[in-house]
């Protein structure tokens, strides 16, 4: 009886913050992040979507054109090429995951100097994408490049990988796979440390070995590593900008552009400044990313719920 009025007085005596502390504090901690995320990510997304309905050169007046930019995109051959190249990147870049897994399995042993081998395999991920691009463009050089030297030894004719519109994109993807494989390898190496030796032992007693052991015992235990590898590889494929810029500059005649590169050319490069058109490309790219973002969020949520 005496306690209740006491708390009542207490409640009134304390400030608003004290009374709502538990509800408010998390939001206070989140506030700076929310603010920056809104200003630099969320609001620009809506600004881009808005801008894609205008014609604007970045200097003068904007003119409302409705869906005109999207109509133009629909029959822009360069956009189609860029879109397909994005698909190629997404598909072939994923090869980094199995490649990384096999290198990790190969390196997951104890022999003298294994640390050195591991760091050598990891090395390409440490160097800048620009350097990777330069190294590979020299490797591919039509006359003096190493690739044609090797092909020449086995009697195959010289090929100009980066100068051939049908090969160039694959050439760049191969260059991108080099550091990305190293990244996936590191993820799997850490994942392999967490593999339960007792389960392996039990599987061995049950007579599992080779591919079956890998597929039914090891890989399921590596699921978290696979998920992260998948996420970073998809993100990597969608930001393939720097390799393209260094190795071919989008050429020959625009056949190696991806959406992000095409957007940059149309909106921000030397001969661009069609801001509305660039924004329309950005919106399409955003929608593609949204599919993956939705998938990632969904699977993380599933994960949380399972616990």
């Amino acid at each position: 009886m005496t306690l209740a009025p006491q708390t009542e007085i207490d409640r009134q005596g304390r400030g608003w913050y004290k009374r709502n502390e538990i509800a408010v504090t998390p939001w206070l901690f989140l506030a700076p992040a929310i603010l920056f995320f809104a200003v630099y990510v969320i609001i620009p997304i809506f600004q881009s979507i808005n801008l894609s309905f205008y014609n604007w050169d970045g200097l003068g007046e904007k003119t409302w054109v409705g869906l005109d930019n999207y109509v133009q995109l629909a029959d822009d051959p360069a956009f189609e090429v860029s879109l397909w190249n994005n698909v190629k990147w997404l598909v072939f870049y994923l090869l980094a995951i199995p490649a990384g897994l096999f290198i990790a399995l190969f390196l997951n042993q104890t022999v003298t100097g294994i640390r050195l081998y591991k760091s050598l395999f990891f090395f390409p991920f440490v160097i800048s994408q620009v350097v990777v691009g330069l190294v590979f463009s020299w490797f591919y050089l039509p006359n003096e490049g190493l690739l044609n030297g090797i092909l020449g030894l086995v009697g195959l004719g010289p090929i100009n990988v980066l100068g051939d519109p049908t090969l160039a994109t694959y050439g760049i993807i191969a260059a991108g796979l080099w550091p990305q494989t190293a990244y996936c390898m590191i993820l799997y190496l850490t994942g392999l440390n967490a593999v339960d030796p007792e389960q392996v032992e039990a599987a061995r007693l049950d007579g599992a070995k080779g591919w079956k052991m890998l597929w039914y015992v090891i890989v399921p235990q590596l699921k978290p590593a696979t998920f992260i590898a998948f996420v970073v590889t998809i993100i990597g494929a969608l930001r393939s900008f720097d390799l393209i810029s260094i190795m071919t500059n989008g050429g020959p005649f625009g056949q190696t552009r991806v959406l992000s590169f095409y957007m940059f050319e149309k909106a921000l490069a030397e001969f661009g400044f069609r801001m509305g058109y660039g924004a329309a490309i950005a919106v399409v790219l955003f929608l593609i990313m949204l599919v993956f973002i939705a998938y990632f969020l969904w699977s993380m949520w599933q994960e949380e719920r399972a616990r």
């Binding site: 050169d57 020959p252 001969f271």
Partner: protein, 421 residues
């Protein structure tokens, strides 16, 4: 005016006594003068900084602040600083490249400077390139010729001479190809080098006026006359005139072919001379000729890209900026900054002296006496940006796959219809 010029002479003469007189002459200007430059390469940068130091010496009360921005980055940054934080003077390019800024009202009309007799008389040759809507929007400070730079020793070895018409041009080329070399090196990775070839082939096939009509969007890309230009180009391509795999190289990466003697020539601007000399070619090995006539009925016309100074309309010290522009185009300053130790290009002032350099002399003579058709800027400066970007990409494709021509021209025509609507 007159005291101005005396002052600049004095400053460049670097004699202490006359410099003192110069200071007395130029006490009128004060305040801040912000200058933005895109001359980021070492030699042009030093030239510009020395020139500005001379200007500062004449105007001691003027607080000059110079900002040098990387040449490529400048091309996108200019849009920001012209609107947000305008300097008093900024470098840029002539003709269509300045049109977006003129139309957006970001460049100051400097027609008053061009009305002054010193400038009106001596800068007449570049007036057209600085004019939009009958007004002038800046002043030029340097320009350079384009043409064929070739290996004289290879020509002599094969018994060839500088061609004076299209047939000789092709016959020379055939002889060079037969000797196991390519006639011309080119690196088309960054596309604009192919624009140079189109400029010359079109100027020689259809003439300057037609070329400018195209730039203005009045000619269809599928027109038979345009096709004729490409047909002439194709003759060279089919002959094997151009170095292979040029789509992989930048213009600098294409230089070694010429230095090593694998290619006999290079259609380029005069800026190619410096790296070729540095790579070890002497003036006995390297020579220059004007691109010969193709259609004898059209007057010869040349490409001569012009670099310029402008006053942004948001400038705060326009009086000092105008004085700076007068200083830059004055004959002595022009002689000084364009000489072989500095920019190594052509002065825009007719009263200036051209440095005693083989290529500069040939270029100056060519542009002043043998270019009756007119002087174009360059493909990507004469044509609107979007048209130029699409077209140069098409040129590169054409040079690799000449059979795609119809497809390319149809594409360019649809771009033309959108760009010039």
């Amino acid at each position: 005016m007159r005291s101005m010029f005396k002052a600049s002479v004095a400053a460049l003469g670097l004699t202490a006594i006359t410099a003192g007189g110069a200071i007395a002459d130029g006490h009128g200007l004060s305040g801040d003068l912000k200058i933005f430059l895109d001359t980021s390469n070492p030699a042009p940068r030093a030239t510009m900084e020395a020139m500005i130091a001379d200007f500062a010496e004449i105007h001691p009360n003027l607080n000059i602040e110079t900002t040098v921005i990387d040449r490529e980055a400048y091309k996108t940054q200019i849009r920001n600083f012209l609107t947000a934080d305008a300097p008093d003077v900024a470098t840029w390019y002539a003709a269509n490249r300045m049109r977006p800024y003129v139309e957006a009202g970001l460049f100051e009309d400097v027609s008053d400077l061009w009305a002054e007799p010193e400038i009106a008389e001596n800068l007449a040759s570049t007036k057209g390139a600085m004019t939009i809507d009958d007004k002038q929007w800046g002043v030029p400070y340097t320009y350079y010729q384009w043409g064929v730079y070739y290996r004289k020793d290879i020509y002599e070895e094969l018994g060839l001479s500088e061609p004076s018409n299209w047939d000789e041009f092709k016959a020379n080329c055939q002889a060079i190809v037969d000797s196991g070399r390519s006639c011309f090196t080119i690196g088309s990775k960054f596309l604009w080098t192919a624009g140079g070839w189109f400029d010359y082939l079109n100027l020689r096939t259809n003439g300057f006026d037609f070329h400018m009509d195209m730039a203005a969007g009045d000619v269809e890309w599928t027109d038979d006359r345009v096709r004729q230009t490409f047909a002439n180009w194709r003759e060279l391509i089919d002959m094997g005139a151009f170095v292979e795999n040029h789509q992989n190289y930048s213009w600098q990466e294409a230089l070694p072919f010429m230095v090593n003697g694998e290619s006999a020539g290079y259609l380029m601007g005069n800026f190619a001379v410096a790296p070729l000399r540095e790579a070890g070619l002497t003036d006995d090995q390297l020579d220059f000729y004007q691109f010969p006539a193709i259609n004898p009925d059209v007057a010869l016309a040349e490409d001569a890209p012009t670099d310029t100074f402008h006053i942004p309309s948001g400038a705060t010290n326009k009086e000092a900026a105008r004085e700076f522009l007068r200083f830059v185009v004055s004959s002595n300053v022009q002689t000084e900054i364009n000489n072989g130790q500095n920019l190594g290009q052509l002065p825009v002032n007719a009263a200036s002296a051209v440095d005693n350099d083989k290529f500069l002399n040939e270029g100056f003579a060519m542009l002043s006496t043998n270019s009756p058709g007119g002087v174009a800027q360059f493909f990507d400066r004469d044509f609107p940006a979007e048209m130029a970007a699409e077209a140069m990409q098409g040129f590169q494709e054409f040079m690799v796959f000449p059979d795609n021509l119809d497809d390319i021209l149809n594409r360019l025509e649809s771009v033309r219809q959108r760009v010039y609507q």
